[in-house]
Amino acid sequence: MLIDFPIISSILIVSLLGTLLIYLFPAGDRGTKWFAVLLSLVPLALSTVLLLGIVAPGSVELTSISAGGQEFLAYEKAEWIPQAGISFEFGVDQLSGPLVFLTSLLTTLGMIFSWGEKHRTKEFFAMLLFMQATVAGVFVSLDLFLFFVFWEGGLLPMYFLIAVWGGPKKKYASMKFFLFTQAASLLVLLGILVFYWMSGTFSIVEILNQGQVIPLGLYTDLLFFALLLGFGTKLPMVPLHTWLPDAHVEAPTAGSVLLAGVLLKMGGYGLIRFNVQMLPGVSDGLYVLVAVIGIVSIVYGAFVCLAQDDLKRLVAFSSVSHMGFVTLGIGAAMLGGSKLAMAGAVFQLFAHGLISAALFMIAGALGHNVGTRLISKLHGAAKRIPNTAGFMMVAFMASLGLPGLVGFVAEFTVFLGVYEGFEAFFGSGLWVLIPAVAIVITAGYYLFAMQRAMFGPEEEDAGEMKDLHSFEILPLAVLMFFIALLGILPYLLFDPILGWVGGLV
Amino acid sequence: MEWDLVWFLALAIIEIVGSVAVVLSRKLVHSAFWLAVTLITMSGIYILLKSEFVALIQLLVYAGAVPILFLFGIVLTRRGEEE
């Protein structure tokens, strides 16, 4: 079935229009939520089509354009600011397609999960829709300028989500979030300027077609480094991660879900699209640096998790740790030419999106329903809130890389690729022992948290605890379904990614 | 050594001493007197310079009239007990 329909622009337009339309609703109207959720199904359906076009090219055929040996599907182009050579140029590939789907999915689920939101409901849902548009925009933009527009645009709704609907320290957190990522954006901007200057075009397609746009040398290395810092902050990698815990702790649940689920993925996406795809062949030392940062993030994040009491903070740091796999995978892939590592990194983007979303939903649900997210105050809660405990268990297990769930596939392939890559580069793959230690620590902090929060004798004077509402169970169940599905049948998504990576590494 | 020069130096010394005395004298009348001395000495120098007419005028007008005028002035502006 050939689809010759501007899918991508439709996704963006529907979301953006929806953002505006929601404002037309009177404040406090119950229809707002219905409208928002139903509207968000449209982008979800469209991104599903995109995803199908990517992972199952037989079922859905999309218009494509070739760029530097790779293909972008559902390609669209329209003029915007012709004077500066800036245009609306969209397309997805195996890297971005799944992330677009993830964005749409998590938006819908986040909305459903936030059904109980009472404070400025209308604006809240509008912000989520806006967020969906901007983040999806980042993934689909094939014009650097446009990319940056969406990149920065993504900050806005997140900023408001934290600043308006956040917790007690929201001012500090939202400021920190904004400034940190803004600073990172500037480095990205710098990179974009270099690309434009060197290639004379903003179009990623053209840049890829030009091949080695930027002559190799110190300059390229510096550029790589700048972009690494820029995207790494978003990712986030240690030591540029400190905005993340604060932002998460203060953000409302749906905000956290999107923040961890897709916003961080922008960093990983950028790293792969820019640092790897558009800037090949920089010094090995930099790739070593990337790998080392990955390892440090993994281990450091895991250790910090061990000392956390706030569940949300714990999950936030675990995100730091898990996004380290992306960095590590990229570094190792570029060092030793391991396709698996790169594919694993890409897959981890998707996997972590699902898992962290689930984790934050649970942490958020605890906050709403129980009144505390502090692990030390929950003891023995499993009896009273079995559903929460059950979902928490599954999410924890997925996050700690239990085989059969999606996290394992990603981590395993990254490790495997890292082993290959290190063996090819350092001569011994056993260096992988260092990040592998994190497997144990990860298990440690999750189990520790589980034991203290859910197990053990029931607290006598614990206040009233409510279990998950049905509107909270639904999104969690959907996430669990995807977590299990891709854990058991990872090839559905992994093989297309691997094929794509084949043209990259 | 020329006599002209000797005369000149002698007159010059008187001249200088005289004018210093004019400036530094405690009493106005003494000043007036020293002024007269100075002016007269000056006419001597004019003679040494072979300007006899000027010397004459100096002696008549300056050395003669001016100190007298001063004396009048002193008398006219005198307060009770003059310093």
Partner: protein
């Protein structure tokens, strides 16, 4: 031709899904579904086993990979059906079925039955998947699934904080082994480009450092899962779970997966002498080490747990010895013996646990000190347990005798070839046999003989529990002999397919060897000592602790050689220490830098503001100020005194004159 084998794994998986979805609405919390699935698995396994045996024509191992599918990229999944896996599947599914049935009684009162059966069948699927995996990745996946179920089932009564922490401990400790196993598997893939077990066995690891490292890493996984020294500490604690779980997972099946892993990677281990010797040493040491701790335990299940560790040590020991000898060109008797012991141990240890469960069910406590004299009240349990104890002690014709003897024999052979160290290990093995017999009968006598010591009102368990006991007791008696009857276990399981013996040769060989009698004597001596001390009480058990050495020893043993404390200390102080330090670092240093730079920015801002107000704006105002100010000051100079003016004029004149002078003189 074995495609239907998939059903063996699939049935419990499907049952798992069905139970978690529908379980809560069925009677007995989904037990029926579980039993049906387990039964299906068992029946299909038996058919499979028969077919494999039939094809194998007495001993020639059959292996076939069935049902392959691409997991990701180059990685294929599938089932590997050969003698070992077929045997294991029968064993596992049988035990699962038996214990599942037993659970109907044992767990009848529990509220969370649905959860129990779901986890139970998921575990079954994991174990069956592990033994039938045709590649190490799949192996790892199911291996971890088992680990998860183990975690969940140990923590089944999570409201007990001991259970919760035991579950965590089990998962964490095995996770350490799993991590190393994971790396080993990766290393295999990196050097051979495949996970496929058959292929890996055929090709072996290329010579080099990895040749030694890989088997050691794989063995580390086994050490974790099979609770070998130094990762044994979780197993005794795991007894906090329901007894059925202890019987099934922590005695009969899951802990054997480590042995199975070593068996699957046997050629890799054999290829490396370092690895072989490590395996032997760990196995031998664990055997005597764990047995020693069993001597002082009073918790009936803990005794059995230590016993399990010890017995698995035997199996590992046997495999190691076999590997060493196999590389030297000998037949893999040890391999056979280990698997043989694995099977026998599965039966009698499951029996012991279920019997213990029956006792606990009856008396409501684990503490042997309050039991005693139960024989009269629970005859079936008592006799079943006696069978188990005899099998454990290695008294012929009970099953344990045959396999334990074979292992020790193999070790002795290795000792003959490789010198004193192995002879020493053999001696340790024999001493272990003595200790085993002693603690086994200490347990039995303390529980069933003599008089009731505590305030307990025991009664025999329901039939749904005693029938499985009877069945297992029968197996404990005959499973060893059956192999002898068919001409040696080597007909069923070998590695390399070179073991062919007849029944009579086998018996002759066993009963003519002096080694057999040495072991036997050790076992009988152990039983005798236990009889004297705990049954007849001719000698008080205080005699062991009458000397200071004895007391020290007892204290050491009761504190489990302080290893638990050491690990705990390590985790608490080192692990949490690093964690706290990292957290502090994050909050103060990294965040401090961020906040500090924000403060610095603000400071710069204030500074520039001040500069702007005072400096730049000051300069502007300053110019105005200078103009007005200087005119003011100039006005002040105008005193109106003529003399001052003149003075100034003269000064000016001087300046002018000076300038003119300079100018006229043509410069300086």
């Amino acid at each position: 031709m074995f495609e239907y084998a998939l059903l063996i794994v699939a049935a419990p998986l499907v049952a798992f899904l069905l139970i978690i979805i529908f379980g809560r609405w069925t009677r007995q919390g989904g037990a029926a579904i579980a039993i049906a699935a387990l039964g299906t698995s068992f029946i299909v396994s038996v058919i499979l086993f028969a077919q494999v045996l039939g094809l194998g024509a007495l001993g020639a191992p059959v292996s076939e990979e069935v049902f392959k599918y691409n997991w990701i990229g180059p990685i294929e999944f599938g089932l590997l059906i050969d003698n070992v896996s077929a045997l294991m599947m029968v064993l596992v599914s049988f035990l699962c079925l038996i214990i599942g049935i037993y659970s109907l009684g044992y767990m009848a009162e529990d509220k969370s039955k649905t959860r129990y059966y779901a986890e139970f069948v998921l575990f079954t699927a994991g174990m069956l998947g592990t033994v039938s995996a045709n590649n190490f990745l799949q192996f790892l996946i199911f291996w971890e699934t088992m680990g998860l179920c183990s975690y969940l089932l140990i923590g089944f009564w999570y409201e007990k904080s001991e259970a919760a922490s035991a579950a965590k401990k089990a998962f964490m400790v095995t996770r350490v082994g799993d991590m190393l196993l994971l790396i080993g598997i990766m290393a295999i893939f990196a050097s051979l480009g495949t996970f496929n077990i058959v292929e890996i066995q055929a090709r072996g690891i290329p010579a080099g450092a990895l040749m030694h490292v890989i088997p050691l890493l794989l063995f580390a996984g086994a050490v974790g899962k099979s609770a070998q020294f130094p990762l044994h500490i979780w197993l005794p604690d795991a007894m906090e779970g329901p007894t059925t779980v202890s019987a099934l997972i922590h005695a009969a099946t899951m802990v054997k997966a480590g042995v199975f892993l070593v068996a699957r990677s046997f050629p890799l281990v054999a290829a490396s002498d370092i690895a072989s010797i490590t395996v032997i040493c760990i196995g031998g040491f664990t055997a005597i080490f764990a047995a020693s701790m069993a001597l002082v335990a009073f918790d009936i299940k803990r005794v059995l747990a230590y016993s399990t560790i010890s017995q698995i040590g035997y199996m590992i020991l046997g495999l190691g010895a076999a590997a060493l000898l196999f590389e030297a060109g000998h037949a893999s008797h040890g391999f056979t013996a280990s698997m043989y012991h694995l099977m026998n141990h599965a039966f009698f240890k499951a029996l012991l646990f279920l019997a213990a469960g029956s006792v606990i069910h009856a008396v409501g406590t684990n503490d042997m000190r309050v039991m005693g004299g139960l024989h009269s009240k629970m005859k079936i349990t008592s006799i079943a347990m006696l069978f188990g104890a005899l099998a454990l002690s290695g008294i012929p014709p009970f099953s344990g005798f045959w396999s334990k003897d074979a292992i020790l024999h193999e070790v002795f052979v290795a000792g003959e070839m490789y010198g004193a160290i192995f002879t020493f290990i053999w001696v340790a093995g024999v001493i272990t046999a003595f200790l085993t017999a002693f603690y086994a009968f200490r347990l039995w006598f303390m529980t069933f003989a003599g008089k009731t010591r505590g305030d307990i009102h025991p009664h025999e368990s329901p039939r749904v529990m005693t029938y499985p006991l009877i069945a297992l007791a029968v197996f404990a008696l005959i499973s060893g002999m059956l192999a002898v009857v068919i001409g040696g276990f080597g007909h069923l399981v070998t590695f390399g397919g070179t073991v062919h013996e007849g029944t009579m040769e086998l018996l002759t060989e066993i009963f003519t060897s002096p080694l057999t009698y040495i072991t036997l004597f050790a076992a009988v001596a152990g039983i005798g000592l236990a009889y004297i001390v705990y049954c007849k009480q001719r000698v008080s058990s205080e005699i062991f602790v009458s000397t200071s050495v004895g007391r020290g020893m007892q204290k050491l043993l009761q504190n489990r050689y302080y290893l638990d404390a050491a690990y705990r200390g390590f985790a608490l102080h080192v692990g949490m220490g690093i964690a706290r330090a990292a957290d502090w670092f994050d909050r103060n240093v990294i965040d401090g830098v961020v906040n500090g730079s924000a403060k610095l920015g603000l400071l710069v801002a204030r500074g520039s503001d001040a500069v702007d107000r005072k400096g730049v704006d000051g300069a502007v105002d300053g110019i105005a100020y200078v103009v007005t100010g200087s005119s003011n000051r100039a006005r002040a100079r105008q005193t109106g005194q003529i003399q001052a003016y003149i003075a100034a004029m003269v000064m000016g004149m001087f300046v002018v004159a000076l300038i003119m002078l300079i100018y006229l003189s043509g410069g300086w």
